[in-house]
């Protein structure tokens, strides 16, 4: 097992820069997820760590050694592909043992490793089958088994769950987490699914346009996003952004949303935003769970207002509500027992203790 370090790593395809100088330190045993929209360079980054793509510039280190020119087989890594990439003419056991057989491991050692991995992944009864006799989830388990038996320094996962249906994806997500808890191998995992990123990762790396937007624990990214991109990418339903500006009313700092609607800021927020020019064009970032039905007893920092709902989406445990504010659609989450109906008026509360304020032009969270 080992740590992985990326130093100013760049990937150029002719004129296009797919990865534009990435710095990343992945500690030993850590589970790091690279997440971002398609084309953000996350898969290219993973493939460069694997050695399947040359790096155009910078350094990649595995276990302290620069591996820029080391071929994949000598990097001591294992990779799980999106489409499994099982060898179709080999049985499950042969698929899993292929790498070990190439390295001429003793037969007994190979067998014990296969048995252990098969037991861990619950595929003991499948070891003599061919890949075409397996379901998608089983194939994905075998692909993971093939990685586990190698006992590599680093696991690389390239969108391993994208081909599975939603239910199986949740199940396999938990399996992957369990496996990592057992083997503790340093893992780099690529996905475009922010839920997968949040649930699996020790740390999440959010990428966009070949650059890292933010690195942090799932909770850090959720509660303290650095940019509008991260704020909108992490969390579902996504964070609301409402155009606003700051205003001093009667000596207190307010955030003005519309001509008629301005909320006084809680003290901590007022101190934090005190020095922002009052003319600056800003965005108020509010997570849907901080836009709820108004409670009878007012709480500090929670302000209420009246609106008319456009659409409601009952989800069972909660009801998602959508309404329009200054031309932008806002989503909120209310109690299913609240009196929320399509087109009906409702008194809502916004929790400004959890608000974010963003620069509308740069997208930076202030």
């Amino acid at each position: 097992m080992a740590d992985v370090t990326l130093r100013k790593v760049v990937k150029r395809y002719d004129e296009v820069e797919a990865v534009r100088g990435i710095d990343l330190d992945i500690a030993d045993h850590e589970f790091v997820v690279l997440v971002g929209p398609s084309g953000c360079g996350k898969s290219t980054t993973l493939r460069m760590i694997a050695g399947l793509e040359d790096i155009s510039d910078g350094d990649i280190m595995i276990g302290g050694d620069v591996v820029n020119d080391v071929p994949p087989k000598d990097r001591d890594i294992a990779m799980v592909f999106q489409n499994y990439a099982l060898y179709p003419h080999m049985t499950v056991a042969e698929n899993m043992s292929f790498g070990l057989r190439l390295k001429r491991y003793p037969k007994a050692e190979i067998k014990s490793r296969i048995d252990e991995a098969a037991r861990m992944l619950d595929i003991v009864e499948l070891v003599d089958r061919k890949p075409k006799q397996l379901s998608g989830g089983q194939r994905q388990r075998v692909a993971m088994g093939r990685a586990i038996v190698r006992n590599p320094k680093v696991f690389l996962f390239d969108e391993p769950l994208s081909n599975l249906d939603a239910k199986l994806r949740v199940q396999m997500r938990i399996e992957i987490k369990k496996v990592h808890q057992k083997v503790r191998t340093t893992t780099v995992y690529v996905t475009h699914d922010q839920v997968e990123a949040m649930t699996l990762a020790d740390r999440v790396v959010v990428m966009n346009h070949g650059r890292i937007e933010q690195i942090g624990t799932p909770n850090e990214l959720y509660h303290k996003p650095a940019t509008k991109f991260v704020a909108s990418f992490i969390g579902s339903p996504a964070m609301n952004f409402i155009p606003c500006r700051l205003e001093d009313i009667a000596g207190k700092l307010h955030v003005r949303l519309t001509d008629r609607l301005a909320f006084p800021l809680p003290l901590a927020r007022a101190v934090r935003y005190q020095n922002i020019p009052r003319t600056e064009k800003l965005l108020l970032g509010l997570r849907p769970e901080h836009v709820t039905e108004a409670k009878p007893h007012p709480q500090p920092g929670v302000e209420t207002f009246d609106t008319v709902l456009d659409v409601t989406e009952p989800m069972g445990m909660e009801t998602l509500i959508y309404f329009t504010m200054e031309g932008s659609q806002v989503c909120g989450r209310v109690n299913p027992n609240a009196d929320a109906h399509d087109g009906a008026p409702l008194r809502l509360a916004v929790d400004l203790n959890n608000m974010h304020l963003l620069n509308e032009v740069t997208g930076v969270v202030l």
Binding site: L52, P72, K73, F81, Y87, P88, H89, K103, K132
Partner: protein
């Protein structure tokens, strides 16, 4: 599912219900019709050959119904199969074909792998070039080739003309380009992740080829083998030009040169020889077709 809506105001038009199965029935009838015509067209010559091969020379030249055997005889078969000359032709053909198939596969499989997977400078151009080579007809090549071998013979003293093994050099010029092309297609259909997985598992290029690509592309290799065998077994022009002594001849040329004496055609034996010559490819087809199953890659990746 398509839904049929009838506009009451529009002129009434008959809606055919259940036309799916009726269409299918007619499609089947037409396909049987054309298949039967095709079968008659392609099976008539071999049947006529079989009928003729069972006749004596006298009966062939007699003015009777050519489609019926009145006095069946195996004398043509016995005559050919006991003739050392014919067995020599057969033997030469077999040796040449087996060698050519082996040489072809040894060249074209690695070549196709390199062209399909090991992206190197000019590989795409080279792959197209391989195919273009195949498009040049042998009728255009045999005179320059003959000249080349004559010159080589003059310079080095190595006499290749009128030796059966000259065909081992000539036939691959026909088989290698096409087989390489077939194999490029098969290798290209193997998902890229499969060789990436092999590379990460620690396989070298050669191991990736022998342990992953060849087993996975086995149907393609069978197809290429059948093609190479058929070409070298049936090739006529090159052996006609390059070999002349009767002990160096392969079967197609041997039959023509020894069984046609001037303007005397020994039809019974010619037909018998041609039928016997057609047997090995047929047997090979029948044997290899069992292995020629599509969908061997099923299960490698999400389909």
């Amino acid at each position: 599912m398509a839904t049929v809506t009838i506009d009451k105001a529009a002129p009434t038009r008959k809606v055919k219900y259940g036309s799916m199965s009726r269409d299918r029935t007619w499609a089947l009838r037409w396909s049987y019709f054309f298949l039967v015509i095709f079968a008659i067209f392609s099976l008539t010559p071999p049947i006529y050959m079989l009928i003729t091969s069972l006749k004596s020379s006298a009966e062939i030249s007699a003015a009777t119904n050519p489609w019926w055997v009145f006095h069946p005889t195996l004398e043509n078969y016995v005559g050919l199969l006991t003739s050392n000359q014919f067995l020599r032709f057969f033997w030469n053909s077999a040796i040449v074909s087996i060698f050519v198939v082996t040489i072809t596969m040894l060249i074209s499989v690695p070549a196709a792998f390199a062209l399909a997977r090991m992206r190197f400078w000019g590989s795409a151009v080279l792959a197209t070039g391989v195919f273009l080579t195949y498009l040049i007809p042998e009728t255009l090549l045999f005179i320059p080739l003959f000249k080349m071998f004559a010159v080589i013979g003059d310079w080095t003293g190595i006499q290749l003309i009128n030796k059966w093994y000259v065909l081992l050099i000539l036939y691959p010029t026909l088989t290698v380009p096409f087989c390489t092309w077939i194999m490029i297609g098969y290798f290209a259909s193997i998902p890229k992740e499969l060789d990436e997985a092999a590379i990460i598992d620690g396989a070298s290029w050669i191991q990736t080829l022998t342990r992953i690509f060849i087993p996975v592309a086995f149907p393609g290799i069978i197809a290429a083998t059948i093609f190479a065998f058929t070409v070298s077994w049936a090739q006529f022009l090159y052996p006609l030009v390059f070999t002349t002594s009767t002990d160096q001849l392969v079967m197609p040329v041997g039959i023509i040169t020894t069984l046609i004496k001037g303007d005397v055609f020994n039809w019974g034996q010619i037909m018998t020889g041609a039928l016997l010559g057609a047997a090995p490819p047929l047997i090979i087809y029948a044997f290899l077709m069992d292995y020629y199953i599509a969908g061997l890659t099923a299960g490698a990746t999400k389909g």
